[in-house]
Amino acid sequence: MSGDRWLQVQAVLAVALLVLAVAVRGCEHGAPARPQPAPGDLDELPEPLQLLGAAGAGRMAELDAVVASAQRAAWVDTRAALDRLEGCPKLLKWIARPEGQRLERLLTALETGSRQEALGALALIFRVAGRTEWEPGMFGGAAGAERLGGLLQDWLEVWAAKGVDDPLLYEPTLAAVLLYGRVMNAAFESGLFGDSERSLERARACLARLCTTPGGLRTPLAIALEDRYPGALDLALEDEGILEGLADEAALLFPDHDGECGE
């Protein structure tokens, strides 16, 4: 290319750059797209969020058909055992019983299964959260809340990333984060004479892992959470405020899951 020609090309490039420098200022970030179910996608399990609420007990049987046959017997037994729970037992005591131990084994199996089985696992955790006492008392004792938080964390570690891209698990995944925030906030605020900083640190680390990339960007889960529940999660907050927004939203969405069986 001759000198004059090359100079002209550079001049045109400079003009293009100047125009582009003005145009890019109008670039905006659109609202995140929520995964849309394909026709018939949710026919077998419509309104999956209902399964997580207190009224979801009546729909638990719908999940019998989607649980793999290897786990079906344990599934049916466990959900029946949870239905029979009376008197709001302490979570730590109940989970130490045979049916509690069976629940933990079943959760592990379901979480490695299909998306419907993952929903079943989450529904069981929410049933435990609604039917047992995990709220720390006046004199501390955050172990129950920590244990429940651990169950939710295990589920989230496996399904959070996939869940926000799945029409079936989208709302349940966000609900799981909200309940996790509420449970860990209760663990943090346990006791009359001080807060449990370790619970807060554990929760902060978990949420940071779930909601930010190593490069500091927000994950799809954090974006979906901000879109669906604006202001609920603020990862920039250093103090317990990081959990309070989640706890408030969870209290609105699941008033019975308060650690005292809604009493």
Binding site: G3, D4, L7, Q8, Q10, A11, L13, A14, V15, A16, L17, L18, L20, A21, V22, V24, R25, G26, C27, E28, H29, P32, G215, G216, L217, R218, A222, I223, E226, P230, G231, D234, A236, L237
Partner: protein, 343 residues
């Protein structure tokens, strides 16, 4: 750019001028972007750019006014490359100003007012550079812009940390009382909102955004500096090309009569070819006349010095006379024989 212009002028200056425009464009591009916390690059908005354009326009007008007052009249770019240079200079000023202004709120107007004054002062009579070159950014202005960029980076960092004030000062004694509300325990100075500073609700990736802006500022400022130098050289090349149309001996004489450092001051930049030729002819005539007048003055001084006029007998007068004489500038004193021949 016209083919004639590129034929006439030295390629080096033209290339540097285009490179400067590229740098300004690239700098403006980076200054217009920020990294959203969700990952994509988003724009910084048009509000600050609008303010930057206004400041650049005022600077351009102030410069043009100063040029008129200096007696040069309003000069215009005469070819495509000069036009691109002026456009890039205008855009570069707007980009630099927009890049350092906070993106909204009362602070943006306060900062814009300061920059307006600074740009207008830098274009005052006596400091004017060249209206035909577009707005210029001097060293002092650049320092001020750099300080303002630092302020913008600081408040953006604060915003990314969800601290909506530039400075928070703890109140002695009260700051330790955690049961008091925050508003009593500390005093916030220069408060702002996320919307005022164009920070999305979900935040920015500060490290990436800071890199973009700092790099953009450096490129745009560097481009402006290079453009100012290259534009001067480019116009000098055009003048030189016109003089070179003369026969070599005559061209050499004209360049001695009108040295290169006078070209800009004498208004030879940004003229059309016809105007430049006429101006060079007029200047040649004026300077030759001045030379002749000077020779006459030398002759008169020689006569006065040798005749011992009143005032030339002091040591100072003898020194000056001697200095002129030593340079051979005075006509030689005529010998008695020469005078006798005349009689």
């Amino acid at each position: 750019m016209s083919a004639g212009a590129s034929r006439r002028t030295d390629d080096g200056a033209a290339r540097r001028l285009v490179l400067a425009c590229l740098l300004i464009g690239a700098g403006g591009l980076l200054l217009g972007l920020q990294r959203h916390a969700d990952g994509p690059l988003i724009g910084t908005g048009f509000a600050a750019l609008g303010m930057g354009t206004f400041v650049a326009l005022v600077a351009l007008l102030a410069n043009a006014t100063a040029e008129v007052r200096a007696g040069h009249g309003i000069t215009m770019p005469r070819d495509g490359l000069a036009l691109l240079s002026v456009g890039a200079g205008f855009c570069g000023s707007a980009f630099l100003v927009a890049g350092v202004l906070v993106p909204g709120g009362p602070w943006m107007f306060a900062e814009a007012l300061v920059l307006l004054v600074v740009f207008a002062r830098s274009s005052a009579p006596g400091t004017a550079s060249d209206a035909g070159d577009g707005p210029r950014v001097g060293r002092g202005t650049l320092l001020l812009l750099g300080a303002m960029l630092l302020f913008r980076l600081w408040v953006t960092y604060q915003g990314c940390q969800r601290e909506w004030a530039a400075v928070q000062v703890d109140v002695p004694l009260l700051s330790g009382m955690e049961w008091l509300p925050d508003s009593l325990r500390s005093v916030s100075l220069i408060e702002f909102t996320a919307a005022e500073f164009g920070i999305p609700e979900s935040g920015l990736v500060f490290s990436h955004t800071m890199t973009l802006w700092a790099l953009g500022f450096a490129l745009a400022a560097g481009g402006m500096w290079l453009r100012q130098r290259s534009s001067w050289e480019y116009e000098n090349d055009r003048v030189h090309a016109t003089i070179s149309e003369l026969p070599p001996a005559l061209a050499s004489l004209v360049e001695r009569l009108i040295p290169e450092e006078d070209w800009r001051r004498e208004g030879l930049h940004h003229l059309s070819d016809r105007q430049r030729r006429k101006r060079i002819s007029a200047m040649t005539e004026e300077r030759v006349r001045r030379q002749l007048e000077l020779r006459e003055a030398f002759r008169a001084a020689a006569g006065a010095g040798r005749a011992g006029e009143t005032g030339t007998e002091t040591e100072f007068a003898r020194d000056v006379f001697g200095a002129i004489e030593r340079q051979g500038a005075l006509p030689a004193a005529r010998t008695r024989e020469e005078r006798g021949e005349e009689t």
